[in-house]
Structure formats: structure tokens, C-alpha cells
Amino acid sequence: MCLGIPGRVVETYTEHDVLMGRVEFGGVYKRVCLEHVPDIVANEYVLVHVGFALSRIDEVEAKRVFAFLEEMNQLDDLEAHSP
């Protein structure tokens, strides 16, 4: 449900007292409502659904799955080396 994709905030502005922004998706720019990610700053990423930012993407958390994969790699190496 609910197509949501990460986009990079390029700039912010207000319109009718609502926080809006220009957000980039792989080189394409779109107007997005940022009212619910009020602390966002340029170059941060937001998760956008129907032109509305639902949350900020957390860069640290984003790497966790790779840390986990890395662990598995080391596990593999261990297994590979210990017979």
C-alpha cells in the first residue's frame, strides 16, 4: 500500500503558511509538502507519498541492514575457515 519513495530536499519554502519544498528524485524535481517534517534541511532525504513527506530518512538506520549483511559475511568467512 502507499507508494513511497525517498527524495532529497533541495530547498524549502512556505505557501499558504504550509512548509513546502523542492524534492529531487533521481534528477527529477517535484513540489512536496514538508509540513510534517518541520526540522528538515536541504540535502536530507524524506520519504514521499502522494506529494507529501511522511518522515525523514535516518542515515544511520539506513545502513543497518548492510552492517547485518557484513556480519553475515564475517560469519560466512568464519564458517569457511572453521571446518
Binding site: 500500500m1 507508494l3 529531487e24 528524485f25 533521481g26 527529477v28 524535481y29 514521499v48
Partner: protein
Amino acid sequence: MSEPAGMLDPELFGACPVPQSRYDQIVLGHGGGGLLTNELIQRLFVPAFRNDVLEALEDQATLRFGTDNGVKAPRIAFTTDAFVVRPLFFPGGDIGKLAVHGTVNDLAVGGARPLFLSAAFILEEGLPLADLKRIVASMRSACDEAGVTLVTGDTKVVDRGKGDKVFITTSGLGLVPEGRSLSIRSARPGDCLVVSGTIGDHGIAIMSVREGIEFETVLESDTAPLTDLVRVMLDACPSIRAMRDPTRGGVSSALNELAEASGVGVRLDEAAIPVGAEVRGACEMLGLDPLYVANEGKLIAVVPAEDAERLVAVMRTHPLGRNAALIGQVVAEHPGMVTLRSIVGGERVVTLLSGEQLPRIC
């Protein structure tokens, strides 16, 4: 795009060959180049006009005219397309340029040398003459670039609200060299599929300026005449079996039609399909699949495996082929069907577009 004969058996489908989807009226999807378009052609047009040339459903008809003197006459390719693109002027092109390129390319991908065009204009009252002038000038320069001459035409005017500024139908004539015979019926298992560049550029460029979806980015259509690229390809690689320009319905329609017509399967490798960054961004944002997005100025070629690498190399020397890539294979399995190996290794079927492409919420 022709189906196994049984599919059109009146016993199976009733005496009435009108499309039997839930629509009894034309909807936009009938023009989308996907399943509904296919149904309309198969169930309404082909049965009505039934003849060998039309039923081949190539993008162009190849004709031979008898001569008085009994001499073997040249083979002439004949094609037509109506152009209704909105907006009239879009980044990278306009309806006039498209109307020339579209018809020139249908000739070129059939192996013909495009020579002559006709153009019929349907104008809506109120169209600024300045716009018409701009379109016509653009057509002229597109003709010059493609080496074709516009030799006959027609103009009609319709009431305001009964048209949409300008529609242009072009028809084209080209000369098919003796001995050359490209056909979407001739793909063989083992053949390779080559695309001439990134896909989806034209469709996304048009969408990017469409009311309700506008991006704040100018994406350029890739519309271009393929005549010269095709010449280079055929010179280097006369073994090419078929070509098609994946316009409406995108790569999916072109390859499904190929699979159907040749009675073969097609297997694509998702990772190998070139897609521009911005087209990817736009597709992710709108929930679209680049395989279904229209192209202009791109082609797909079917070539025996042994020549594929060389063909790609040759294409990459041409400005219109610099992103050429080998994107899949023709297989004996699942005839009439296109499958795709995803970037994470799973497999899925690439069906015809059902209806038209709509931006998705989910």
C-alpha cells in the same frame, strides 16, 4: 502481433469480433498500445479488412507493383500513423517532428529507405496560425534531416471542442532493397535482442509536462529519425532478422508482438536494460514501469547470437546508438510470452500494458 489462428476462431469467440473486454465504448486504453489496443486490432480491424499484408501486422506494408513491361518492380514499403500527442510542443520536440520521425522510423525499421511522406492535418478552430507555422517548419526540417520529401497533403478544420488544436496523420513510402526481408515473424530461439539506447525517455518527457503530473524538471524527448542508424546497422550486420521501434506500449508491446508473431519466447535481463536516471526517478515517483513507457527514436533489433556483440559495438559508434545494449534473448520456451529476470534474480512475465499507464497511489 498476430495470434495463433485458433484465437480468432469464431466458434471460440462468437460470431462478433468486437472486443470482448468490459468496454463497449472506446476508452483511452484502446489507444495505449497495450492489451486493449491489441484486442481492438485483432477483433475489429483485422477481421474487417482481412488480407495477408495487413494481417502480418508489421509496422509497414511491403508492396510490389506490377509493371506493364513485366519487369520486376521495386518493393515499396507503405506505413501510416496518426499523431495526437499533447502538448503540441514538448521538451525535445513537437507534434510535427514526431509525425515525421514516427513514420520515417516505421519504414526504416522495416528495412526500407524512407523517401516520400504525405501529411493530413486536422485543425481545431482557434488554433493560432503561428503555432501551425511553427509545427510545419519543424516538419520540414525533420524531413530534411531524414532525407524524405513531403509530396502531398490535406487540411481539414473542425469545430472548436471537436478536436484538439492539431492532429497530424503522416503516411510514408520507402524502397526496400531486393533481397532484404526484415520481419517480426522471423525471430529464432537463440537470437539476441539489442536496444539502441535508454528506454522511456519520450514517454516520460511527455508526461513531465502533462497537466496534473508536471515535474519541475525539463526532460527531453529522444525523438529522432532512425534512418541513418538503421543503415549503419544493416551495412555492418545484414543478418539482422527484425527491428521495431518500441513506441506506444513501450518495450513491452514491441517484444510481446515479436514473441507472438514469431511464435517464440523472449527473456529479458532487467539489469541490462538501459534506463536514464531521470526516467528512473520519474517512474519510481509515479509508480510506472519503464518497460511500458513510450519511446521515439529508439529501436530494438533481433540478431543471431554470433553477430550480437559486433552489432552492439557498431551501434555504439553512432550518435543514436551510443547506449546500445544487449538486453535479452529469444528462447524456445513459453512461446508468445516475454519474461524478465529481475535484478535480484527472480523471474516474472512482462505482459502487455492493460489499458493506459496511470500514476499509482500504491
